[in-house]
């Protein structure tokens, strides 16, 4: 039996379905991320688990107990909000112990727990401060401590890092994951940031228009996307229009150039198809004498450099074929010259790197 079971969850607002037949089983101690664009239903699903939205239909079961109609304050679920939601009239210590106070715990228990939580979030000196005296990152850590202090069954995090700057986000998400692992608590994390979801989750649920498009580990989601939406939403993806030339040998024509694919997962009935190809799977070959040799079994496409974007550790080069463009990523090499605008190049990639997705 899974620790948290979401069965056929549906939520209707007016005439539209914000969440449509959502099914998910989560094991104890698992860290699950809901990933998707704005309006895909991830926060609505989270809020149904928290008890802030009543499902139109479906069931929510936590450790064998049906909590679908239970009020939020009876579910013992900790929640961390995007806006921190610390109580402005209380100190850090008072915020953290609030759940324990409501539960009627003794002063000694509360004091000990507050000390433990402050050590866990590495803010032992802030006990007597008020929320407005803390930075955003500190406030979010206190919010996390408050949500964990009363030992909830499940921890829910609704885009907790989106109000913070990029550098703090990276450190804090690692801290959140580390704390979750240490405590072994089941967690659901809502985010629209794919890097966040992929880097800290045991499994990722990619959502779109109220439905779960794919559920899998970060590696599965990224390397083997099951739908065009997942392929295009997660990571950068080239989606090229192609025509089947030789079904038996799995050869496609992309702008009159031939490409061999390894996998065709959808029926091909003579209509144009979409071929997905990750930018990092492409190797760029320049016409210079020092250019890399194209492996014999690789696909090769001829094109012209249209743009070069320096992204720090990665250089993204846009190449025009005939009618379509392809993005190729390579690691930044300070000793290598970047290709010039208009330069003729060859793109090579293995056949298993491309898939027909629609």
């Amino acid at each position: 039996m899974a620790f948290l079971e979401l069965t056929n969850l549906r939520k209707q607002f007016g005439s539209s379905w914000a969440v449509d037949t959502f099914n998910l089983n989560i094991d104890q101690g698992e860290f699950i991320s809901f990933l998707g664009p704005s309006g895909c239903g991830k926060t609505t699903t989270l809020r149904m688990v928290a008890g802030f939205e009543k499902p139109t239909s479906g069931q929510i079961v936590i450790y064998g107990t049906d909590v679908t109609n239970a009020p939020a304050n009876k579910r013992k679920i900790g929640m961390v909000f995007q806006s921190y939601a610390l109580f402005p009239n209380m100190t850090v210590a008072e915020n953290i112990q609030f759940g324990l106070k409501v539960a009627g715990q003794s002063r000694e228990v509360m004091q000990q727990r507050v000390t433990e939580m402050l050590e866990l979030i590495h803010l032992p000196e802030t006990a007597k401060r008020y929320p407005h005296q803390l930075s955003g990152g500190q406030q979010q850590r206190v919010a996390l401590a408050r949500a964990l202090a009363f030992e909830p069954q499940v921890l829910l995090l609704d885009e907790p890092l989106s109000a913070l700057d990029a550098k703090i986000r990276v450190t804090l998400r690692q801290e959140i994951r580390s704390i979750q692992r240490k405590l072994g608590i089941t967690a659901i994390y809502v985010t629209h940031d794919q890097e966040e979801a992929l880097s800290i989750s045991d499994r990722v649920v990619v959502m779109n228009k109220g439905k779960a498009e794919q559920i899998g580990t970060p590696t599965q989601i990224y390397n083997t996307p099951q739908t065009q939406f997942v392929a295009s939403f997660v990571g950068t993806l080239n989606v090229l229009q192609a025509k089947m030339v030789d079904l038996a040998n799995k050869v496609l024509a992309v702008d009159d150039q031939h490409v061999r694919v390894e996998q065709i997962t959808i029926p091909v009935n003579g209509k144009p198809v979409s071929m997905a190809l990750r930018p990092e799977a492409i190797t760029l070959h320049r016409q210079s004498a020092n250019g890399k040799t194209i492996p014999p079994d690789s696909n090769a496409l001829q094109g012209t450099v249209e743009d070069v974007n320096f992204l720090g550790s990665v250089v993204r080069i846009r190449i025009r074929l005939r009618d379509q463009v392809v993005n190729a990523d390579s690691f930044n090499n300070p000793h290598a010259e970047l290709p010039a605008y208009g330069e003729a190049v060859t793109l090579s990639f293995p056949s298993e790197a491309c898939r027909v997705i629609g």
């Binding site: 802030f52 939020a72 304050n73 679920i77 909000f81 939601a85 759940g99 990152g137 949500a147």
Partner: protein, 285 residues
């Protein structure tokens, strides 16, 4: 040159306003310490006998305590009614806000005399009009109604300044019921608005005359009525009423200024710290 002219105009308007407000006040004060009528512009000798008369009059103290009691009761009833109402509208029924705001206009538009005679007519022959305690209840109820526009606004403004929904959900996720949420989370964060409303209500209770007169209640403002045959005592009473009102306003300012003062002190400390090279809170993360 343009800026200097604007400044002169502004100062001139301020001066005229101050004279317009100040001259009658000063004249009232001078008259209240006059011993002879013809000495109003330069009272000789100065006499505080009018003040002594009113402070020694038992009706003055009785009226003051009566009005303070009615005022405090009005504050309690208004707070108990309005805080949950505004909270619930903010949380679940924001579409009702415009209806309530319309209702706050009614006590301003409808004269107090219409209100009180309407109440008397409605409850004629009942306990509310046939007994002293019933009339006291009518008086307090009337105060709650006429103070409604002035109690609703500051409390509503205080609610607008906090994220009611998120704070409520945070408290619910930690196991709180509605009572705990309102008492421990919401009320402390709208307390400034409640205090604002309280002091305004008190000022209304002390100064209100029409309803008190119609219900024949011995309120603070009715003392003026009892002294209609005197000369200096009503003026002295006016000065005392002014001083009391200003006292409440000063107390209100001090109480409600504290969070801003605290923020100003902290900001000053941050600026000083930054100037001498100490790290800020975000840098120390």
């Amino acid at each position: 040159m343009e800026k200097k002219r604007t400044s002169l105009v502004a100062w001139g308007a301020l001066l005229i306003g101050m004279l317009y407000m100040g001259i009658p006040l000063v004249a009232t004060l001078i008259f209240s310490v006059s011993s002879k009528l013809h000495s109003v512009t330069a009272p000789t000798p100065i006499s505080f006998s009018a003040y002594a008369t009113i402070f020694n009059d038992p009706k003055f103290g009785a009226g003051l305590w009566f009005s303070l009691g009615a005022g405090l009761l009005t504050i309690l009833i208004s707070t108990v009614l309005l805080v949950p109402l505004i909270y619930w509208v903010q949380l679940r029924m924001p579409y009702l806000r415009s209806v309530i705001e319309f209702m706050t206009l009614l006590p301003i538009v409808i004269p107090a005399i219409v209100l009180v005679f309407g109440l008397l007519g409605q409850y004629r022959g009942t306990f509310l009009t046939n007994s002293d305690s019933g009339l006291y209840v009518l008086l307090t109820g009337s105060y709650v109604i006429i103070a409604f526009p002035y109690t609703y606004r500051p409390i509503n403004t205080a609610f607008q300044a906090i994220n009611v929904k998120v704070l409520t959900e945070a408290a619910q996720s930690l196991g709180s019921g509605w009572f705990t949420i309102i008492v421990r989370v919401i009320l402390p964060n709208v307390w400034t608005g409640v205090l604002n409303a309280a002091f305004i209500t008190l000022a209304i209770a002390l100064g209100e005359f029409t309803i008190s007169n119609a219900l024949a209640q011995n309120t603070f403002s009715m003392y003026l009525f009892y002294m209609e045959t005197k000369i200096y005592e009503p003026v002295a009473f006016t000065v005392v009423a002014f001083i009391l009102t200003w006292f409440f306003i000063v107390v209100l300012q001090q109480v409600t200024k504290r969070p801003a003062q605290r923020a100003t002190r902290e900001r000053s400390a941050q600026l000083i710290g930054g100037a001498i090279g100490l790290p800020s809170a975000s840098e120390s993360e």
